[in-house]
Amino acid sequence: MFKSFEPNKIFAITSRAPKYVLFLFIIILTIGLTEALILSPGDYKQSDAVRIMYVHVPAAWISLGIFSSLALLSVGSFIFKNKNFALVSKSLAPSGFVFNIVALVTGSIWGKPTWGTWWAWDARITSMLILALFYGMYLLAWKIYEDKENVMKITSMIAILGVINVPIIKFSVDWWNTLHQPASINILSDTSIHSSMLIPLGIMTVAFALFSLLIFLMKYNTELIKVKNKGLDRL
């Protein structure tokens, strides 16, 4: 089932794809930034401070999505004993970590004008900080451990343990009284955001997703070449 996704077969595609993804990312980001900074309206309560949402929310969504993928891939690598899953996870993690940091920092910047403080030990913010720590541990483990079998087990354990935090982040605003506002966008129920703000948010989310795809492809190609370098040493 996974044979058609073997690195040797897909490198021809992954090595050519980044330039097209970069081109598309720049176009969509330009449209997104124009919408977010100029065309979209201000909020009746938060005024123009609401524009921070267009970088904060997509960054948070994507960092959560990537960490959930890391956990899924880790379970997959345990079940199917497929090393390519570990390679994919390792390539996804750096962009997930950066998105997590962006979500924390832009959230902090947004907190100052709206809550009057840069930081609060609130359930949503603290659980996002814990996610950043899990990302940090995950990336560090790949750097520290040299034994391939060991590092795959350790990073998988970190991802599987860390994913417990994902539903906590999602529902923290419902379970506890938090400074952070509840979710405004719901897949299963009505969304409380007007389309004039929802459209730029959607465009920025697509742009951020393309950026994480770009970084993933570049990192994945780097990892494949590293594997091939080791292969040349053994020749």
Binding site: L37, V102, V105, P113, L235
Partner: protein, 75 residues
């Protein structure tokens, strides 16, 4: 118009710093990843060049090796 965009009703410093931080983070991650890629690719090319004819022709049998050699600086 320009002043409105820059000042953003007094929230300009917050909005612009959030967007700048995001874009700087993206640019840093992109260039660090690109540098790592180029470094590995360079290492591969120099290792490939140091192989003897027999080993080099064995290595060339793998499509991925040919792809790496033909795709220098594609990103």
């Amino acid at each position: 118009m320009i002043n409105e965009i820059i000042l953003m009703n007094g929230y300009g410093v917050y909005v612009w710093s959030a967007f700048f931080f995001t874009l700087i983070s993206f640019a840093t991650l992109y260039f660090v990843t690109k540098l790592q890629f180029l470094k590995e690719q360079k290492r591969f090319v120099s290792k490939f060049g140091s192989l003897n004819v027999e080993k080099a022709s064995a290595a060339r049998l793998q499509n991925i090796n040919k792809e790496i050699l033909s795709n220098t600086s594609t990103i």
